[in-house]
Structures are given as structure tokens and as C-alpha cells.
Point group: C2
Chain length 205, copies 2
């Protein structure tokens, strides 16, 4: 297909497609003239993926590149993929009061102490404090206990057909299931509010 | 305190503080000279909150303004706050194939059909498809079932001391607990990967 059709079917603008081509996120089409090229379904699929990562996943272009690179890698075994997912990405963790480490220890989780999610947890806990929202250690442990089955479902339902498939589920699942979980959480808030609200209405407060 | 000390203690730069003052996100200090003003602990607390909302919450300035405005409102009753949380923010939901509505119906949740989280859910489900990550309806329902206790914990543990307190927990909790949950999810992924990885090692694959 021509560029115009590719733009139309992917719902990505022509300038953005040209940008992705220049940046190498999208492989070049087949040259069909001096300034014309033809694109196939692989281009369309990749463009849709890029759009999903940017729009729903909220990823920056360099993050999109990292995701695509990792999808293009050829893992040799399912073990290798799980090993990588399990290791986490190395990061400096500014866990000044050790609260993040203590929380994970209380939960009994096997995690890398110096990985990106540990850094994220430490700064998320610091932000709670900055925002003046005091949550007790017990509350945070209980929150972790309740997040555990969500994460376990995601990992346990990855089909083990091939290393490449496992990789796709691990990499895309982390990014693309996130907005699904966040939307479900806010909808479940409404449902839980309704129930608590009804409970309040029954008794004087 | 002077501006320099306020910047130091809040870890917000002086230009950013001046910007927040100009935009009215931060109330003016008490004039102590032609171009000097003095700030108090309320200013410090609000700046820390703004920083938390921007950095950890990932909010835009207009979203920060909406959060601050809603915190500054004076709810007359706990019911009113729950009622507002329960209603959700009106939004146009582009749920083309009705999948989001079906999912929520399968979960049996009482939610507003045209609210922002429903729109978020519909576009998150569309992004899964765009990304080529097929999750069955059964899997999504199970995901919702497992998110439910997380959201219920958040709502049920809101202290009912005063309408203003409830409002603070509802508004700040939605934004500031989000990054905590996301970090916990990725750490729990590591733990679950480890267990599934160990399971694979025991048996030939």
C-alpha cells in the first residue's frame, strides 16, 4: 500500500510516519519510484503497536524504541525471557528511610533490590508523604497483598508457546495492561464507593 | 520564610514557584517589602503537594489545578463526597465494539456509563488490540475480579472523620496511590516470574 493508505489504516499522520521512518522505528518500505515506496501489513501492524505504546502506554519515543528493540531481539529460551523479566532493570534506588525495602521484605517478595520498580516504589512512597496522605505500613502491606494476585494472573497466563511469544507478552503486557488495570481500578472505586455510601445511608453518621 | 528557603525546603525551583504564584496555584505570600514576601508552612505544604502531583502523579498543570480546586471546595457532608466520587466525571466513551461496557456488566459493577474511567477502559482495550496483545474476555473479567479487592481496600480504609478529610483521601488517593500500585505490580511480577521460572526449571519444557 501507499503511504496515504498506511496513514489512513493505522490512524497515524503522514508526518509522524515519516518521522518514525527517519528514526528507524519503522523499517523502510519497498522503493517503487524516485520518491515513492510501498508498505505491507507488517508496517501497518508495527505502526499500530507504536501508536498503542505512545497513546495508551504513555511511552516516550526512546521508551518505544527500547520496547521495539527488545521485541526484535531473539531470545533463545523461555527461561532466558523469564530470567530477564525477573532480574528487572538496574536503577539507583533513593530509598532514604528504607521504607520501600521494608515493605517488600514484609511482603516476602523475591525482587532485585536495585531495579527500576524499586526506585519507582520509593519515590511513590515519598510522594504520598509530600502530598500529606499518610498511609500506615500495615495498610501498604495489605495493598501489596491485594496487588499480588493481579500480577500473578498476568504472569501465570502467559502462553509458553515460544520464547518470542513469551517475550511479547512480558514486554507488551507490562506496558499495555497497565492502563487497563488503572481504568478498572477507578471503576471499581465507583462500585466500592456506592457500597460504602449505601452503608452510610443506613446509619446516622 | 523567604522565597529562597521555601524553594530549598520544598525542593521546587524559584522559577517554578514564581510560575505557580502567577498562575494562582499557590496563594501569594505576605508582602514584607517592595519586592519581598514571606511564606509560611501552608505554602510549603502546598508546594510539596504540587510537586508530588506533578512528579509522582504525572499530572499536567491544569489537572493539578483541578485537584487543588476540588481540595479547596467545602463539601458539606461525607455523603456528598462519596456521591461525587461515585458519579465519576462525565466523558464521551468511544466504546465501538461495546467491549468495555460488556466487561463492566460481567463484573456486575455499579458505575456511571459515561465517565472518564469508562472512556479510559475502552481506549485501553482498543490499544491492547492495536498492540497485537490478545486477551480473552474471560481473562479480562478475572483481571477485574482481582483489581476489585485493591480498589475496595482503598475506599473502605478512608477515615470518615470529616467531609474535608474524606475528600482529601478520595482526591489525593486516586492520584498518589496509583504510582504505588503500579510499582508494587511490577515488583510482584518479578516475584511471580521467579516462581513460574522455578516451576519451569523443575520440568522439561
Amino acid at each position: 500500500m501507499q503511504l496515504a493508505e498506511l496513514a489512513d489504516r493505522s490512524r497515524v499522520s503522514i508526518p509522524s510516519i515519516k518521522y518514525y521512518l527517519r528514526e528507524g522505528l519503522l523499517p523502510p518500505g519497498e522503493r517503487t519510484g524516485r520518491s515513492r515506496a510501498s508498505y505491507d501489513d507488517d508496517h501497518l501492524q508495527r505502526l499500530r503497536l507504536i501508536r498503542a505504546l505512545v497513546e495508551a502506554g504513555g511511552l516516550s519515543l526512546s521508551e518505544v524504541r527500547a520496547v521495539l528493540d527488545s521485541l526484535d531481539s531473539q531470545p533463545s529460551s523461555v527461561h532466558e525471557v523469564f530470567g530477564a523479566a525477573l532480574g528487572g532493570e538496574a536503577a539507583h534506588v533513593a530509598d532514604d528511610d528504607g521504607r520501600a525495602a521494608r515493605l517488600v521484605a514484609d511482603l516476602g517478595w523475591a525482587v532485585e533490590p536495585d531495579c527500576a520498580p524499586m526506585a519507582d516504589l520509593a519515590s511513590a512512597l515519598a510522594a504520598l508523604e509530600d502530598g500529606g496522605l499518610e498511609l500506615s505500613d500495615e495498610h501498604l502491606v495489605e495493598l501489596g497483598r491485594r496487588v499480588e494476585p493481579v500480577a500473578a494472573l498476568e504472569i501465570d497466563s502467559i502462553p509458553l508457546d515460544s520464547p518470542a511469544e513469551v517475550l511479547r507478552y512480558v514486554v507488551l503486557g507490562t506496558v499495555l495492561v497497565r492502563p487497563v488495570i488503572l481504568a478498572l481500578r477507578e471503576l471499581a472505586h465507583q462500585d466500592a464507593s456506592q457500597r460504602r455510601f449505601d452503608g452510610l445511608s443506613d446509619s446516622p453518621t
